[in-house]
Structures are given as C-alpha cells and as structure tokens.
C-alpha cells in the first residue's frame, strides 16, 4: 500500500469529512488519492487561508476538516490561524509538505525548509514529522484527534518520499 493511501486511511479512520487543499507537487499527488475517497469531500482552494477557513467551517458544522498545503502556503496562514483557529478554538488538522528539508531534491525550496520548524514553533503550532517506517495511518489519525481534543491546530509535515 502506498504512503499516500496510508495517509488517507488515517484521515478516514479519524472521521475527516472534508479536505481543503492548495497543491504543490507532493500535495497534488496526495490529493489524487484523497479524491478517490468516498468519505472525504475534496475542496480545491485558490489560496491557503481559504482552505483553513473552509476546513474550520466543516468543523463548526459538525464534521472534521483537514488542510493539505505546502509549507510556503502555511506561512501565508498566520492571520487566519490566530484570528480564526486559535481565537475561536476550532480543530484544524494540517498536512503540510515539508519542502526544502534535507530530503527535498529541489534546491530552491531550501529557504522555506530552513524556516519551517522555527515558524511552527514560534506560532506555537503542535507538529510532528511523518514517519513512514512506522504506522503512518495511526500517526495521521492521532494528529486529527489531537486537533479535536485540543480544539486547535495540529500539523503533520510530510516529504515526497512518504507518499511512495
């Protein structure tokens, strides 16, 4: 089973009903698998802040929302994270492609990789790095549950190799 399928299995197992996304190369591949799910409504957003608000809307309406974006897109989301997710204490699970870390072969992503974890820490966003050698499905499901239990954000950073 592919890593992408194991991630989607985790979203489904945790009861995610809606996944809002802005793609990059990796997230686009993951979303192709999400679209095959009969349990998760896929929503293509034009910009990442929208995706966060869409997922929050699903949560407020009784579902569970997830946001699938690149780390550059997460950087766009400081305002909506503070003024919506945190202020109103809404569960919001993120899967974020960790571009520019040591595993990314594309050189121009390096600046984003250098600031990803410091930004997550500065914004006090709970996060984990996907471990494809372990139970990725459970890791995803735990991330969703953590967002629900804490009524706030939770981020899982993934790399392209996690999708294989």
């Amino acid at each position: 089973m592919s890593g992408a399928q194991r991630i989607v299995d985790g979203l489904e197992a945790a009861g995610v009903t809606l996944a809002a996304s802005v793609p990059d190369t990796w997230i686009g591949k993951l979303m192709a698998t999400v679209r095959e799910s009969t349990k998760i409504r896929s929503v293509d957003a034009a910009r990442e802040e929208e995706a966060v608000a869409i997922a929050c809307g699903a949560a407020l309406a009784g579902g569970r929302g997830a946001v699938l974006i690149q780390n550059a897109g997460l950087f766009n989301c400081g305002g909506v994270l503070a003024g919506l997710v945190d202020l109103y204490r809404i569960p919001c699970f993120f899967i974020v492609s960790y571009r520019g870390d040591g595993r990314d072969p594309v050189y121009y992503h390096e600046p984003k990789g250098r600031v990803t974890e410091p930004t997550l820490s500065a914004w006090r966003l709970p996060f984990a790095i996907a471990d494809r050698t372990a139970d990725l499905t459970s890791q995803v499901a735990r991330g969703v549950e953590r967002a629900v239990d804490s009524r706030g954000p939770c981020v899982l950073l993934i790399s392209g190799e996690d999708l294989a």
Partner: protein, 185 residues
C-alpha cells in the same frame, strides 16, 4: 444610499431556523447580537476575508441548510480569489452578501484603494453566475429569496451608505461565547 442597519434588519427578518448566518468582522457582527435572528449565527471579530470560505465549509458539510455569508468589500478585496473557489465547489446552498461602502469601516473609516472595482463583473468573471446588485431594502427583499431558491452559489452586491458617525454598537459577545453557542441543529 441606504444605511446598513435597515438592510441588515430586512435580511434578518427573512432568515429562518433552516438557515445559517456567518458574519464578517465589523459592523454586521456588532449589530447582530442586538437583533432577533432565528438562524444560528457565527460572528467573526477578526480574520478579514474568512466569512465566505468559512460559510463554504459549512455549506458543503451541511447541504440540508442554506448558509448566508456577510462580507465587506475591504475584506473581499484582500482575497477575491475565494470567488473562484466557491464557483468551483458549486454549493447549491450558499449565498454571500457583499456590503460595499468603499471604506474600512471598523478600522477607522479609511478609504479602500481608489480603484473602480466592478464587483458583479468580477464575480461573474470568477464563475459566479448568480449575481445581483442590491441598492435598497425593497430590492433586497426580492433578491434574497431569489438567491436562496436558486440552487447555486449566489452573490448579492449590496451598496450601503458609509457614515463615519454611525452609532455602531461595540462587540458584545466574546469569541468563546460565540463558539459555545453556535450549533446547527
């Protein structure tokens, strides 16, 4: 040009418990606690531009409810791209009202960039085909039921007067209170 309050009162009078209302920050959110609204209300006090995508998420999650989003022209000018997202998602149960007064009312009444934004044309260009311009209470009373019955996403562009001396009440509900009270039956 019509002041905001009678337009908002006319809209609220048309809502039912089967609707859901999402309000942008600012005057609408500040007036709503003082009105008898029969629908569940989620009122923002921050996060400009979030009302329409928030309402979209609710509409997709709850297709059995009609979700109405109130957004300001200053907010939508920051992220008009959301109109493309709405058009692509094609919810049959979402109506957005864009309150156009040309000012950032809640931040001190500064003027928006002096660009002649033609909102109906912009929305149509993004793929929202159900767009009407509303200039007074009678036209709102006819346009809103049409939008709600259309079974496709709708945008009502509401021209509203800007009055720097309008006695808008302050925020009277905290976000945690809004969040705790908000339930869609």
């Amino acid at each position: 040009m019509t002041p905001r309050k009678p337009l908002l009162e006319a809209l609220v009078a048309m809502l039912t418990p089967e609707d859901v209302l999402v309000s942008c920050l600012g005057a609408n959110s500040r007036y709503l606690p003082h009105l008898a609204v029969s629908a569940p209300v989620f009122a923002l006090c921050d996060s400009m531009g979030a009302a329409i995508p928030l309402a979209l998420g609710m509409a997709l999650q709850r297709p059995d409810r009609h979700v109405i989003a109130l957004e300001g022209d200053g907010s939508l000018l920051m992220c008009p791209n959301v109109l493309a997202t709405v058009a692509a998602a094609r919810p049959s149960n979402l109506t957005a009202l864009l309150w156009v007064n040309g000012h950032y009312e809640s931040s001190g009444g500064q003027r928006l960039p002096a660009a002649p934004v033609e909102w109906p044309a912009l929305a149509t260009g993004f793929g929202i085909t159900n767009v009407e311009r509303v200039r007074d209470v009678p036209s709102l009373r006819t346009a809103f039921p049409r939008a709600r019955a259309a079974k496709k996403p709708a945008l009502l562009v509401v021209d509203v007067a800007f009055d720097p001396n309008e006695p808008i009440p302050p925020y009277s509900e905290r976000p945690d209170e809004i969040r705790a009270r908000f339930r869609i039956p």
